[in-house]
């Protein structure tokens, strides 16, 4: 037997003594189940610790043996842009956190809740709802994702502020086995939480074991409204109206998403996204030609308040030339927003793509048509086919639109990576030319540099999720 096999076997035995034999596997077929759908890279082992103490011990053993650690939650891939879930390189030990199921504390006076990484958002929501509370995880977060995974999810939410204001502390186990709290990193007297929340990539720093959320009161009612606009100018009119003249009257306005036409070209091939709504069946039946944009609005609040605001919005949309297009997000909407490499829009695409590049910038609402045009034209110029490997979404924030465009690419190909990087760079530069506040190439580079610096500080050996963070 080779030394390598001996080593893996010995490591396996040690890990079994820590977590129990049924929670460690080196069975090849089982390891296969933990590989990516598209470019499978095989881990050495899969370990599922049942407590933070077990997890620490596991990390010490694994890193001590020279193996890398790949944190993993439920692997729903529901949080796009996150490298987590599958190995980025061959080898390594997948460390599943979904047995960490404790909701440790609910602090009603401080309005905080601390949940372990394996708690799903639905479990947390169901636990808090009878108490009259909720956490703000963003409606784009599906019920099935785990707390530990969702710390990387953006966007800002109109009513409750930015994501960084919702997560107050992240407990992580570093490659040294040390447990740290981002709210107060021992020895450094700094709060890293705002830096890391929504950073997408911090699982390259450590394994998230618990998250502390700010609690909010649970609204009496939610209402989901979708409006369809066949001309982008009408979309902008509506958004401006919504933002400027109505916002102060709509305290319940939770989130506004704009789904541009290009996305619906993509969705036309994936009708499951809205298939449950009769309105959307009608909408999809009109392809081509296709509506320009769909604006999704989420209201929440007291029952009568929401009803009133819904009526106001419907009238407003009508005045702006839009029509109501269904008022129910379906389960599938949330489950199927996994438009990543597993997206089955085209078999070749889904087989080839493993990563996605997503330049994000802020622009004035009036500049939304330009933003859309920039993203689409740059994507086309870089050879990313609209509707196949490109999608975009806008999120209305206070006075601004957050515009996200995304291309999918095969990250194993150097030329593909260069093409994706070029796309990001060009979009941000052109957006900056349109609106000086918008593109933030400087801060984007800064955030990358910050993350790399943190990586070198907290994981000097590079044992956490190697290959997932581009260090060059």
């Amino acid at each position: 037997m080779s030394d390598e096999m001996n080593n893996t076997s010995a490591i396996c035995r040690r890990l079994k003594s820590i977590v129990g034999s049924q929670y460690v596997t080196d069975e090849p077929a089982e390891l296969w189940c933990y590989t990516g759908n598209l470019l499978p890279r095989n881990p050495e082992l899969v370990v599922r610790p049942g407590s933070v103490e077990q997890l620490q011990a596991v990390v010490e053993v694994v890193v001590g043996a020279g193996l890398s650690v790949i944190p993993r939650g439920l692997a729903t891939r529901s949080t796009p842009r996150r490298p987590g879930v599958y190995p980025a390189t061959e080898g390594g030990v997948i460390l599943e956190t979904n047995r960490l199921k404790s909701i440790r504390r609910i602090d009603r006076s401080g309005m905080l809740v601390t949940a372990e990484a394996g708690v799903t958002m639905a479990e947390l929501a169901n636990h808090l709802a009878p108490l009259g509370y909720r956490v703000i995880e963003g409606t784009m977060a599906p019920f099935c994702a785990t707390v530990g995974s969702l710390t990387g999810v953006g966007p800002g939410l109109r009513k409750y502020g930015r994501r960084e204001q919702q997560i107050l502390d992240i407990e992580m186990v570093l490659s040294s086995g040390q447990v740290v709290h981002t709210a107060n990193v021992e020895g450094y007297d700094m709060n890293l939480t705002p830096v890391l929340v929504a950073a997408q990539g911090f699982e390259c720093l450590g394994v998230v074991t618990a998250v502390t959320y700010r609690l909010h009161m649970l609204p009496e009612r939610f209402e989901y409204l979708n409006f369809e606009f066949d001309r982008t100018t009408n979309t902008v009119r509506f958004l401006l109206e919504l933002d400027r003249s109505v916002a102060v009257q709509l305290p319940g306005l939770f989130q506004v998403n704009v789904w541009p036409e290009a996305v619906f070209r993509l969705y036309a091939r994936m009708p499951w996204v809205y298939r449950q709504s009769d309105d959307y069946r009608r909408l999809l039946g009109r392809y081509p030609p296709f509506p320009a944009d769909v604006v999704g609005v989420i209201l929440e609040g007291q029952e009568d308040q929401v009803v009133l605001q819904k009526t106001m919005l419907e009238e407003m949309a009508k005045e702006c030339g839009g029509i109501a297009a269904g008022s129910e997000p379906t389960r599938d909407y949330f489950v199927n927003r996994n438009w990543t490499g597993n997206t089955k829009c085209h078999e070749d695409v889904s087989r080839r793509t493993t990563s996605w590049a997503e330049p994000f910038f802020l622009c004035a609402v009036e500049d939304y048509p330009k933003a859309k045009s920039i993203a689409e034209s740059v994507a086309a110029a870089c050879g990313f086919e609209i509707g196949e490997r490109f999608w975009a979404r806008g999120t209305l924030r206070s006075g601004l639109m957050g515009y996200t465009s995304c291309v999918t690419f095969d990250d194993t190909e150097v030329k593909e990576r260069e093409r994706a990087a070029a796309f990001v760079e060009k979009v941000l530069l052109e957006a900056a030319a349109v609106q000086p506040l918008s593109a933030n190439t400087a801060s984007d580079r800064l955030s990358r540099d910050v993350l790399r610096a943190l990586k070198e500080l907290l994981d000097p050996g590079g044992m956490m999720y190697p290959g997932a963070l581009y260090m060059d």
């Binding site: 049924q22 590989t35 169901n126 709802a129 997000p329 379906t330 489950v335 597993n342 078999e347």
Partner: protein, 415 residues
């Protein structure tokens, strides 16, 4: 609500009959890894119907996952991944792979909740079955506990007709035929159900014949991926039905209904010219039409266990409930997971993995107790058997019986 919008897995039927796992490549690769096949929550604040302040429990979709260590291959997502591995020759059909593929009750709860079912035609339970077929085709020796129950008998075993009361053989060539099937026909402890139904037919004075030739409907072979055997059995069955002049076939077993109604046309490539009903459907029609009177009261609280093959695969949910409610004095309560969301009773793995089946059954019995049911009614012999054992092992006083027996008692006929 879980299951909403993907109503009727039975309606969203796709033709899979994959002798050929390669034919399912598109479906396999359309798996979105969303874990809808693993667990689901009803009271999600983001979904319509959310009720603030009301706790509704989540539930685990896969009965196997619920009672194992929770590894990836313990539920559909991982099993579909195994199928992908076999398809792409990335993994070998090892003993481990065989065990994981056959540790599946084929209850199709995963398929019912899979968001890819309707559009991409991904039916995870069928993919698992196709993977089994691949394993069989590769000549892998199945473990005895798996292989023996699926072994095709050399020749049909005629049913012991002594238990069929005099006159109940009915009339050869009668267009209405009752197919007891192997379990009701051969298993002593289940013969009461067949006897009850025959007694009901006699009570209805319905001209009928009882098919006692004892051929297998083919479900065990079909579920195990032995599609050729299942097809051969289907062909023979259809030939016999034709020869016997059967126009309406009533089956007592949920597995049998699935085979005759759903799978035979697919396997044989043509529609059957026989109307196929489950006994509960037949009786529900008779009661609704007033031809069958249920006059014996039964003061009891019952719940109904939806057999997976009868419910999710064939879409029969209402008829058994209508029947149960038609019994005077009966109060019907629902278990927390019912109809499209019904938890499997474990019967589908009872032959190969009896302990696992019992654990699954115990969960279901506990749910019945939680619903304050004194009796679990069902319409499937495998379910009845497994739930009875589970109730006995757990010391529960819940009685498990077939709905046909309950109807016969209510009608005052003796089986």
């Amino acid at each position: 609500m879980a299951g909403d919008g993907i109503r009727g897995l039975a309606e969203a039927r796709m033709t899979l009959h994959a002798d050929d796992l390669a034919g399912l490549r598109h479906q396999i690769y359309s798996c979105k890894q969303c874990t809808s096949c693993r667990e689901w929550y009803w009271n999600d604040p983001h979904l319509p119907g959310f009720e603030p302040g009301v706790t509704k429990e989540g539930f685990v979709i896969c009965p196997i996952f619920r009672h194992t260590t929770g590894a990836e291959s313990d539920y559909a997502r991982g099993k579909v991944k195994l199928a992908q591995g076999l398809l792409d020759e990335q993994i070998a059909p090892s003993e481990y792979v065989v065990e994981k593929l056959f540790q599946c009750a084929q209850c199709a709860n995963c398929s019912e909740h899979c968001p890819q079912t309707r559009v991409e035609k991904l039916d995870p339970a069928e993919v698992i079955r196709a993977a089994r077929a691949e394993v069989v085709r590769q000549g892998v020796t199945l473990p005895r506990a798996i292989e023996v129950p699926t072994r095709r008998p050399a020749r049909p075993r005629s049913l012991p007709t002594r238990w069929i009361s005099k006159g109940a053989h009915g009339q050869t060539g009668a267009p209405l035929a009752f197919f007891p099937g192997c379990v009701f026909g051969h298993s002593f402890k289940h013969q009461a159900v067949a006897k009850s139904f025959i007694a009901l037919l006699n009570c209805l004075d319905a001209s009928h014949q009882v098919l006692t030739e004892g051929w297998c409907c083919g479900y065990p072979a079909f579920a195990a991926g032995k599609t050729d055997d299942a097809t051969d059995l289907a062909r023979r069955a259809v030939e016999r039905l034709r020869a016997l002049g059967v126009c309406t076939l009533v089956v007592g077993c949920a597995w049998g209904l699935r085979m005759f109604r759903r799978e035979y046309p697919e396997l044989l490539g043509r529609a059957l010219d026989v109307k196929v009903l489950h006994a509960v459907e037949f009786l529900a029609d008779e009661v609704a039409a007033g031809r069958l009177q249920l006059s014996n009261p039964w003061e009891v609280t019952v719940t109904y266990q939806d057999p997976c093959q009868l419910g999710r695969r064939c879409g029969v949910y209402d008829a058994p409930r209508e029947l149960a409610r038609a019994i005077p004095g009966v109060t019907l309560v629902e278990m927390v997971e019912n109809r499209e969301n019904a938890l499997c009773c474990g019967g589908g793995v009872s032959a190969a993995y009896p302990d696992l089946a019992q654990d699954i059954g115990a969960t279901r019995v506990a749910q019945a107790v939680e619903a304050s049911a004194q009796v679990i009614l069902t319409a499937c012999p495998a379910g009845q058997s497994n739930l009875r054992l589970a109730a006995a092992r757990s010391g529960s006083r819940v009685v498990v019986m077939d709905l046909v027996e309950a109807i016969a008692a209510a009608a005052g006929v003796d089986g």
